[in-house]
Symmetry: C2
DNA sequence: CACCGCTGGCTAATGGCATTAGCTTTAGGC
DNA sequence: GCCTAAAGCTAATGCCATTAGCCAGCGGTG
């Protein structure tokens, strides 16, 4: 039997792809194993089990999202930065719903989440804001982005034709609120 | 063997209690059956299966939430109504996280969700708003309430001491935005 | 009061899943 | 050219949902 030349990253990557394709709940050890050309028990040589895979997918997602945010926020400030951050997160979640769903569990590496957090903070830096309430503003953003993303991928908006418009409207609403 | 005198509502109610106690994901046919004093296969005489139970718990949750909102909004308008709706939803989710988690699947009875939706619309009725954009405003509220609830029950806010304060701050932010 | 059929309970069986145990073989360092 | 650690395998365990098929209690009818 020829070796598959597998490693931990390959297993996690396969699980992430599968999660996007069939939903995180349908990512089974068997399906991940099949994807990488191996039998299910062999995966335990590389990862701790299903929960471990999910935590690592969460870390992967937060890392990718953090990178995307950093890129998107280059050279932008104020409303431009806010809108760029919002659109980047939304695009990521729509494109990678399974990975993003994994982020509801504590990630393997907390630093990955911290980078996302920092980028969000950077998006707010261009506004002239009183120092108190920074925590509240961050929570407003996280709440909005997280809530919108989950409602959208869950099909929670009935008429889905003008979801784009609602999204841009909400960005405008927040921007106006932050500037007064 | 004495009969348990079970019916559909009793099974769904037991599942809802269990979901709040151990999390929706840990609600198993066996645990529900044990809770009502019966073996697992007997449940199939009353419900269609696990997915059916989840859909019915979703309906139960939306019905309860709709009733709570209707009560809370009696005689309130404007900021008072907005704040009451927000606090009611948050309180419900904190007290019944498992039931609320079930609402991410389409409920058994769509009318239950519609009543929640109508109450939210009523909470906005006291603001003097241009007619266009009603859909966007509703989506803003749903996004915020849903996002905040999920982040809070998932432990997504690190320093959880002043989450109350952030919540009230966000209500104030939205209220201000709606009045301009 | 006896019976009869429906209904709600049961046990047993099936198939999928995650995980563990223990074996075998590969591949690389000496 | 060997020898060990790692990477794969099969087999087995135990939990879960679901289905099949059996049996008993209960409400109604004679």
């Amino acid at each position: 039997m020829p070796r598959a030349g597998l490693d931990r990253a390959a297993v996690v990557a396969a699980a992430a792809v599968l999660a996007d394709e069939v939903g995180l709940a349908n990512v089974t050890m068997g399906s991940v194993a099949e994807r990488v050309g191996v039998r299910a028990p062999s995966l335990y040589k590389h990862v701790g089990g299903q929960a471990d895979i999910t935590r690592r997918v969460a870390t992967l997602a937060l890392t990718e999202l953090g990178d995307a945010l950093r890129d998107a926020l280059q050279g932008r400030a104020g409303r431009e930065a806010l809108a760029a951050a919002a659109r980047t997160i939304r695009a990521y979640v729509v494109e990678h719903p399974g990975r993003y769903a994994a982020t509801t569990v504590p990630p393997d590496d907390p630093a990955a989440g911290a980078r996302v957090f920092d980028s969000l903070a950077a998006a707010l830096a261009g506004y002239r804001l009183e120092p108190g309430g920074a925590v509240h503003r961050m929570r407003l953003l996280r709440t909005l982005f997280h809530g919108f993303a989950l409602l959208e991928v869950a099909g929670g908006f009935q008429l889905d034709n003008d979801v784009d418009e609602s999204f841009e409207w909400i960005i405008g609403f927040v921007d106006r609120g932050l500037r007064t």
